[in-house]
Amino acid sequence: MLEVENLSFQFGKEPVFSDISFEIPAGTIAAVLGPNGAGKTTLLRCINSILKPKSGKVRLNGASTVHLSPAETARRISYMPQRCGMTGMTVFDSVLLGRKPYFTAIVSAEDLRIVEEMLDQLSLRDKALRRLDCLSGGELQKVSLARILVQSSQLLLLDEPASSLDLKNKLEIFSLLKDFVHQRQLSVLMSIHDLNDALRFCDRLLFLKNKKLAANKTPETLTADVVETVYGIPVELHNTEKYRFIVPM
């Protein structure tokens, strides 16, 4: 379970967000939403200690994450940035890096087995020895996801994890993520632009607006006026038998 309490951050003297508090129970996927520049990525970086928050607390399963070493943090929290470096490294080695917090120099057979299984699950096995710079944007996102899943952490922070995936891959990846989260009782916080993806795949919706947490809803309790206030455009919320979806007017 992730607890964020009165978290504030500023770049120089310019506050990015202030006094943000929320909780993500184990087994829950939360989406952080909001207009461009609302501070979604910054929030993820603060929780992962890549950026140092100005004030506030971040607790994971009751323990503060502030004083952890980089490797200790990596064993508890994994972060998937929006962009991944294009290098000549192979897919296998890139995913193996997710196990780095657990080994110093020598990779164990167990690490190799975990990576292999993950590549199978994400249908990446036949691309294991391909160079990263020969992959498409969508494949690269799958590799990044594989890397953070082998990290075996309790909290996943994902920055736009499906922005380059086609419809089929997006469905596959999100259902796989859901299974993982329920099986291993993980907490997930992901920044996402597509409100309909958030409504369909996430259990909780956090809206950032004007440096504050403007709303904390579930897909069931979300109303059109929350979306209208945050994005400043009129929308309609529709319900089908299984899902709700939003149409901008």
């Binding site: 890549i50 200790e72 994994s78 290098t87 080695d93 120099a105 020895l129």
Partner: protein, 353 residues
Amino acid sequence: MREYKNYIRRKVIILSAAVLLLPLVLFYSLTAGPADISCSEVIRILLGFDAPENKGRIIFYARLPQAIAAILAGAGLSVAGASVQSVLRNPLCSPFTLGISGAAAFGAALTVFFAGTSISAVQQPLGGLGINFGFQLSVTAGAFLSSIAATVFILALAVRCQSKPETVILMGVALGAFYGACIMLLQYFADERQLAAIVYWSFGDTQRATWSSLLPIAVLVAVSCLYFISQCWNYNALALGEEAAASVGTPTQRVRLLTMIFASLITAVLTASLGVIGFIGLVVPHLARLIIGCDYRFVIPFSLVVGAVFLLAADTFSRVILPGRLMPVSIITAFLGAPVFLLMLTGKGRTDA
């Protein structure tokens, strides 16, 4: 996973082949040069059997220290280049990117300018330029002090700007230009003898190596290489980007700073004692990546071995290319390096850092 294990095995074989190449080139290097020493004589001398005394002296006091200097300089500069290219995420970087070699050249020029004539007047001159041991030592000391000062200065600035790669590279460019101007100023006011000594010093030359000067170089290169090798996984992580590296537990700023410290120290010590040996720190890491791939677990040790072989070969070549003359190796490295580099870049290989 069998394919991955085979893939790793192939790289280990390539690395081992390169390691085996080194003693062969070393042996050939000991037999090559103006003095005619045959292979069997070299073996007899190395094994301690009786051989003509003057030939033994040539091997032990000229060719062997020179060959070891080439191995150490080649290995040190190449591995430092590969590491700096990784942490600054820029394929154009080399150990000289931070402007340290310019600082060493300036320190040497300054010593020549202020002390050159007075020292050479009291010492027994050995060469036509009045280059002698005491003079050499003070120039080396001047070069070393100047490069250490530059190292401290640029690393302090790097810490101040949180060692952001682009900023550090541009600071190195600025520092290099500054020292270039300082050297030009000294050259403008120097007399002919000083000018000749300044220019002579700026040639990177392994012939200056003596057993006593090799000891500190060997220790520093060994310690630095151990550090670089220990950071292979962190370099791999950094290739994915700053944030991805941090998220798998790489202390990015610390790795970058320590890598720059070791690379700068290697550059300072090597440049101060052997002069500026350019290009090798840029070209060898690319060559290594082209042959063995982009995995730093192999790029670092392979750069080390290929750098040693490359500079040793260039050094040997410099002794045989002009009959009866010993050319400074830095001329050869650039002559050999530039076409190799251009071929590599226009050829099939992508050698991104």
